[in-house]
């Protein structure tokens, strides 16, 4: 069966759209249908055919199912851009949802749910209600998913119309496919809601486990994934559940198998009988092994999951290491993951065979794989003490092959082996030294230099060896320079003869006077001072015993591991990251429900506030403003134990800082502005004479909300209070707002200390900060401010170049996010760097590339998250490309906003 639809793609000459318009309105059915196909073809290749909206919608009323589907498809694509015209389609939708043909009923309700236009959504409710109770299961299963669609567009509507209850009823439907879709829909709705909507009772559990037997394979996955949230009451119940789920391990669908494995692992936590646990482990091993014969992409998912499973339950696959041996034709991503698991499963029993494999891999062609294999040998040496010697001899054999990158990688791991087993294997140093000249990678060089320094007393010509590196000292990367510096000092301390003495002069000179790397310089100065004041102390410091390093193959921390295991086989278990780290929501959901919560919060908080308002009212009677602010200070500190507020009374501070320290500025004193004027957020016209200007600022490592109140009304305003709605960064007031009664025409400035991560809002990161302010005389004022990430940048965000490079490399490329900031500009390199440093964005390095300046910078964001920044742009030309690499790329959108502001 093959079509010949490609003819619809052939472009007609001029006037395509008018021509199509004419054909769409043709009285001949075939011509009409062909025209719609042409329209869809045009849409498929990305042409804008939205102008034909009315004409296409006119074709909707047809008996021809194929044509109808095409028109529906068109609607899904263009209804958003033509919301007013989309209403034209509603009648047909509603009619179709009552068609005698269940295919058409389902199609209508399925399509309506995909059209995210408010006006259409309103009309969806009645058809949906009917379809949820339709006689045909095909319609019901489509309607069940449609509830989740509607919830995504308008959650309130779903709840008001009682769809959730109907959906819950569908769990007891007699058709398994309907049950499965209802479960999928409920699970999704639960995910976005904070209220318990889909609670799995032991009753639902039993029902769903029974439904499992009859579901389609995909439905089984929905059900197993939803049920894995269920916490069994005791070991007996857990065993019962496991017994019902175990047969799924025999299913041909890998997703069913993995979801069943997840559920069994979850329940095993509760099972106390070691026999049962052992038996379950035995049962899970063969299905896990079989996954390795699946398609490579599925193998990859399976391997990432097995990696987690063996960290939790090493016994399951302890005897199966051979199945992880790489096949010649495995894709590289499969080989890499297999290697990881081989290291985890390596034991004294199988190490000889494993080493043979690693050795084989180390002679393959793919450089990255070879390097990883060499590193794997080292990791096994560190992990298995008794096998360390065999591992080393394999490494030495590999070094003898003299393939450059193998040698370098081997030296890097041997350094780690030395750190794990100090004073054990130095005999091989001579062999290592033979390869000295071939080293050209910084990490390998640094490792070799470390070895020479550490064992200087046993290497006869250590000074010569080090000296050979010294010549190129200024050109070496920071990592190598640092190692050279330390190694030379070690050498000198161990062999304080003339040669080393001269060397140390050269190195210290190089590392202090002739470098612009602060880390290197600092380290050199410390050594210098140590050596010149107390050489014995220097020995104690520099030659101190180092902590022994350990095996890092089970590196995932246990609570994270449990969370990841609960997410088998989702993306979370593939990334080895909790879902919050990558799940994103693009569209802005309607803010209505939030608003409501917000008002509630304000209202309820009021009832808790009266005592404090009484306090401030009492204080307001004090006449002298200065005395007043002094008097307030201690109380304020007590009320807001924010680490920010300095305990010292205001008068001790500089005069112009008074205004910046939570104190008030009375009207008659000029509101000493210590920076650019604050943006006006509540204009006089809106605030019935009250104007509020505010901005988030960072002072001495703390975040404040800097506010300016100006009263141009005719009355005294007092009893100011402030509240922040939930926001992405969870900013909230750390104390109470301190504003003295405002006389008509007066203004007051205040700095409100803030805390972060107090009331974090769910959903995608955004910059909205909603603020409510009230006083005793006026209604509550709401205004919006913008969160700026840069106020979170902490003072200790500076990174040395080597550290920057290392961090950059250690993060996967998926953690890098790039954005063009068209409005940003670099006016002048130095000024920009200085300006950014003031905002705690620190310069790391720069280079030029094809007339563009590239700046590398670092900063430390909220919760100490490092941000590695690359700015590319031409001096004086607007438009800067900004890239950021960070362990939490989800902050990127906020970050770009911040950079945009900083570079304006």
């Amino acid at each position: 069966m093959s079509g010949h639809d490609s003819k619809y793609f052939s472009t007609t000459k001029k006037g395509e759209i008018p021509e199509l318009k004419e054909e769409l309105n043709s009285q001949y059915k075939d011509k009409k249908k062909d025209a719609v196909k042409k329209v869809i073809a045009a849409m498929t290749v990305g042409k804008d055919v939205s102008s034909l909206f009315t004409d296409v919608v006119n074709c909707m009323q047809t008996e021809n199912l194929e044509l109808k589907k095409l028109v529906y498809l068109y609607l899904i694509n263009y209804a958003k851009s033509q919301p007013d015209l989309a209403i034209l389609a509603v009648n047909t939708f509603v009619k179709d949802s009552q068609d005698p043909n269940p295919l058409i009923r389902a199609l209508a309700v399925r399509t309506m749910g995909c059209i995210r236009v408010d006006k259409i959504t309103e009309y969806l409710c009645d058809p949906l209600q009917r379809c949820l109770k339709d006689d045909d299961p095909y319609v019901r299963k489509t309607a069940a998913i449609c509830v989740a669609k509607l919830y995504d567009i308008n959650a309130e509507l779903v709840e008001d119309r009682g769809f959730l209850d109907t959906l819950k009823d569908l769990i007891s439907d007699n058709n398994p496919m309907v049950v499965a879709n209802a479960v999928a829909a409920l699970a999704e709705i639960q995910e976005t809601s904070t209220r318990p909507i889909f609670e799995i009772t032991s009753h639902t559990l039993t029902k769903l486990l029974t439904a499992l037997n009859e579901c389609t394979e995909w439905g089984q996955v929905f059900i197993l994934d939803a049920l894995s949230r269920y916490k069994a009451a005791d070991a007996r119940e857990a065993e019962n559940i496991v017994e019902r789920v175990t047969p799924r391990l025999q299913h041909a669908n890998c997703a069913v198998v993995l979801s069943a494995v997840k559920m069994i692992l979850q329940q095993m936590e509760l099972i106390t009988s070691t026999d049962v646990v052992r038996n379950l482990c035995k049962k899970m091993a063969p299905p896990l092994v079989t996954l390795l014969s699946a398609e490579p992409e599925i193998q990859y998912v399976a391997l990432r999951n097995i990696n987690l499973i063996v960290q939790k339950r090493p016994t399951i696959l302890a005897h199966e290491i051979k199945v992880f041996f790489c096949k010649y034709n495995d894709p590289i991503y499969v080989k890499m993951e297999k290697l990881e698991i081989m290291i985890k499963l390596a034991s004294d029993r199988n190490i000889d065979q494993v080493l043979l494999e690693f050795k084989e891999y180390a002679t393959e062609v793919d450089v990255d794989f070879v390097r990883k294999a060499v590193r794997a040998i080292g990791r096994c040496a560190i992990k298995l003490e008794r096998a360390a010697e065999r591992c080393i001899s394999v490494l030495l054999e590999l070094i003898k092959i003299k393939v450059n990158y193998v040698v370098q990688e081997a030296i890097i791991v041997i350094k780690d082996i030395f750190r794990r087993y100090p004073n054990t294997y130095e005999s091989i140093i001579a062999t290592l030294c033979e390869s000295l000249d071939t080293l050209d990678e910084p990490e390998a060089k640094a490792s070799m230099i470390w070895i020479i320094g550490e064992y200087a007393e046993r290497i006869d010509n250590a000074d010569e060896l080090l000296e050979s590196f010294l010549e190129s000292f200024p050109e070496e990367p920071a990592m190598v320079q640092l190692q050279l510096l330390t190694a030379t000092v070690k050498l000198f301390l161990k062999k304080p003869t003339e040669g080393p003495q001269q060397m140390i002069q050269v190195v210290l000179n190089n590392a202090t006077v002739e470098t612009d790397n602060p880390d290197l310089r600092d380290r050199a100065y410390i050594y210098w001072r140590l050596l010149s004041t107390d050489p014995e102390a220097a020995k104690d410091v520099v030659l101190a015993e180092k902590p022994v390093i350990g095996d890092d193959s089970n590196s995932i921390e246990s609570s994270l591991l449990d969370e990841l295991l609960a997410n088998i086989p989702t993306l979370s278990s593939v990334y080895h990251k909790p879902p919050e780290a990558f799940v994103s929501r693009a569209k802005s959901t309607s803010a209505r429900p939030d608003d409501e919560e917000y008002t509630d919060a304000i209202e309820t908080s009021y009832s808790e506030w009266p005592s404090s308002s009484v306090d401030s009212a009492a204080v307001t009677s004090t006449s002298s403003p200065v005395a007043h602010s002094v008097a307030k200070q201690p109380g304020q500190v007590a009320a807001a134990p924010a680490p920010t507020s300095p305990p010292a009374p205001v008068p001790d501070l500089l005069g112009d800082l008074i205004g910046l320290d939570n104190a008030l500025i009375p009207v008659d004193q000029p509101a000493a502005p210590s920076g650019p004027p604050l943006p006006i957020l509540l204009p006089t016209s809106t605030g019935q004479g009250l104007q509020i200007s505010a901005q988030l600022v960072r002072r001495d490592g703390q975040i404040f909300y800097s506010l300016l109140f100006e009263n141009s009304s005719q009355m005294v305003l007092d009893g100011f209070m402030i509240q922040f709605n939930k926001n992405t960064l969870g900013l909230a007031a750390a104390g109470q707002l301190q504003v003295a009664p405002l006389q008509p025409g007066a203004s007051a400035r205040t700095l409100l200390p803030m805390v972060a991560f107090q009331n974090v809002s769910a959903g995608p990161p955004n910059t909205l900060l909603q603020v409510a302010v009230k006083n005793n005389q006026q209604p509550v004022w709401y205004f919006n401010d913008k969160l700026s990430l840069h106020i979170f940048f902490s003072e200790d965000g500076r990174m040395e170049r080597a550290n920057f490079l290392e961090t950059w490399k250690s993060l996967p490329d998926s953690n890098e996010v790039t954005k063009d900031l068209p409005g940003a500009i670099i006016h002048n390199m130095d000024a920009t760097v200085e300006h950014l440093a003031e905002a705690n964005v620190f310069f790391v390095a720069k280079r030029r590339n094809a007339n563009k300046e590239i700046l590398y910078m670092s900063a430390k964001g909220p919760r100490g998250v490092p941000l590695l920044i690359e700015l590319t742009g031409s001096v004086g030309v607007p438009g800067v490309n900004c890239a950021v690499k960070t362990p939490s790329p989800e902050v990127a959108p906020l970050f770009f906003e911040a950079m945009d502001t900083l570079l304006k």
Binding site: C146, P287, P579
Partner: protein
């Protein structure tokens, strides 16, 4: 735990969108472009050549088939295993419809493609992927007759893989037991891993809703039934069943009972990890003479004789093909064989030796000589160390000794159906590393 994909893209080999279906309205066609840019970056850095790609809040999962990428974009924590499997099923469905899935067939059938994408997935959740049933109500132009009045019952039935009312004049079942031998032999001649992956491939031409029951010489079952198991029972390590098999029943009493789909499908697959003697053993001696000449002496020995061959006294391997790697710069081949034919395949950097019929217990040889360029690059990359690879088929023979003891077919109309059973063993990933 819930998670759905946002859209499914079908892209051509250059990353241009052929067809895409937006399921959740939270990604755009630009996503395809971004994905492809990321993919191109990967080629520079093979370390990242994963089938899962993350970029700016969106996860891309993709597979490639011919000149088409099938890719999903997701913003949620969806079930990765399920999505990849779904993508492979989409390939199967398209292949069922268009014979081959490639750029051209997608363009030629874009209307049906849209219809199928709409039916197979809803709101990013996989729904229905039974090609045979789908083609009952989604038809290509050539087959489109009139408006289908309703979806086939099977779409929502517990038996979702078979429609009712199927009729055949002659009711027949063909059952092929196919075993693939995977083996990996180390340079020192040691077998480091070997397993057998078997499949029971069925083709059914049965009327109505037949109930089938399959009996194997499975040791666990026979022992449970208290029968003697000496000599002929086998242990299967891991069994996977087609969704038509009642798993709870199997778990209960090891009975394999099912209502089969119509046409061909894999009823079950199984795996045995018991060490098997390599059926064909290959030894290769490679001698390099004075940097300009290389000599190969390859011996192949068939090591199967009378094991488990029920019908024939002596099994014969057919279509044996042995691939021996040679240096990529080898020229002027000079090849002699004691049996079959051998030729130099420069595109594979290998000597390919084919023997049509290779009886058990025999040994054959091939000698080959190649010239090498006398000048080599000073620091040439190490040679690819490809293993010797072997392909073969041995009919009427299984390594495991699995036997179909019976296949009962009961349908309420009471017809007699004939089951035909065949056995065959093939080489799977059969690799011998060279010295």
């Amino acid at each position: 735990m819930a998670g759905a994909v946002s859209a499914l893209f079908l892209l051509d080999i250059k990353g241009r969108v052929l067809v895409w279906r937006d399921y959740r309205g939270d990604v755009s066609a630009v996503q395809a472009e971004r994905f492809f840019t990321k993919l191109l970056e990967q080629e520079v850095d093979p370390d990242l050549h994963d089938p899962v790609v993350y970029d700016n809040g969106v996860t891309y999962m993709f597979i490639q088939h011919n000149n088409v990428f099938l890719m999903t974009a997701a913003r949620q924590n969806c079930n990765a295993a399920s999505i990849f499997l779904f993508l492979h099923r989409v390939v199967d469905v398209f292949k069922h419809y268009f014979e081959e899935l490639e750029e051209e067939s997608l363009r030629d059938n874009f209307v049906v493609v849209y219809e199928l994408l709409d039916e197979m997935m809803d709101f990013g959740y996989p729904q229905y992927t039974e090609a045979k049933i789908l083609s009952e109500f989604i038809k290509t132009d050539a087959y489109r007759m009139e408006v289908t009045q309703r979806p086939p019952m099977a779409v929502t039935n517990a038996v979702s893989w078979r429609s009712e009312g199927i009729k055949y004049k002659k009711n027949e079942v063909f059952l092929d037991v196919v075993e693939s031998v995977n083996i990996l032999v180390n340079t020192n001649g040691q077998i480091i891993r070997s397993d057998v992956v078997g499949a029971l491939k069925m083709r059914t031409y049965l009327s109505g809703m037949p109930e089938c029951k399959l009996g194997l010489n499975d040791r666990v079952l026979l022992e449970a039934q208290g029968r003697s198991t000496k000599g002929k029972a086998i242990d299967l390590d891991d069994i996977k069943f087609h969704q038509c098999v009642r798993l709870a029943r199997f778990e209960n009493d090891r009975t394999i009972s099912f209502i089969p789909p119509d046409g061909s499908f894999d009823l079950m697959t199984y795996r045995l990890s018991t060490q098997v003697k390599p059926l064909i053993w290959v030894e290769a001696q490679v001698e390099r003479h004075s940097r300009s000449r290389i000599e190969l002496l390859v011996k192949a020995r068939s090591q199967f004789k009378l094991i488990y061959s029920k019908l024939h006294n002596c099994s014969t391997a057919t279509n044996v093909e042995i691939e021996i790697p040679v240096p990529s710069d080898a020229t002027n081949p000079n090849i002699r064989t004691s049996m079959g034919s051998a030729s130099y395949a420069p595109e594979k950097d290998a000597l390919v030796w084919k023997v049509k019929s290779f009886p058990g217990g025999k040994e054959y040889m091939v000698r080959a000589e190649f010239s090498l360029p006398s000048i080599t690059a000073e620091e040439s990359a190490p040679d690819k160390k490809a293993p010797v690879r072997v392909k073969f088929e041995i009919p009427y023979f299984t390594v495991s000794g699995i036997q179909v003891r019976y296949l009962k077919i009961i349908e309420k109309s009471g017809y007699q159906a004939l089951p035909w059973v065949r056995y065959i063993t093939m080489a799977g990933e059969y690799e011998l590393r060279l010295m």
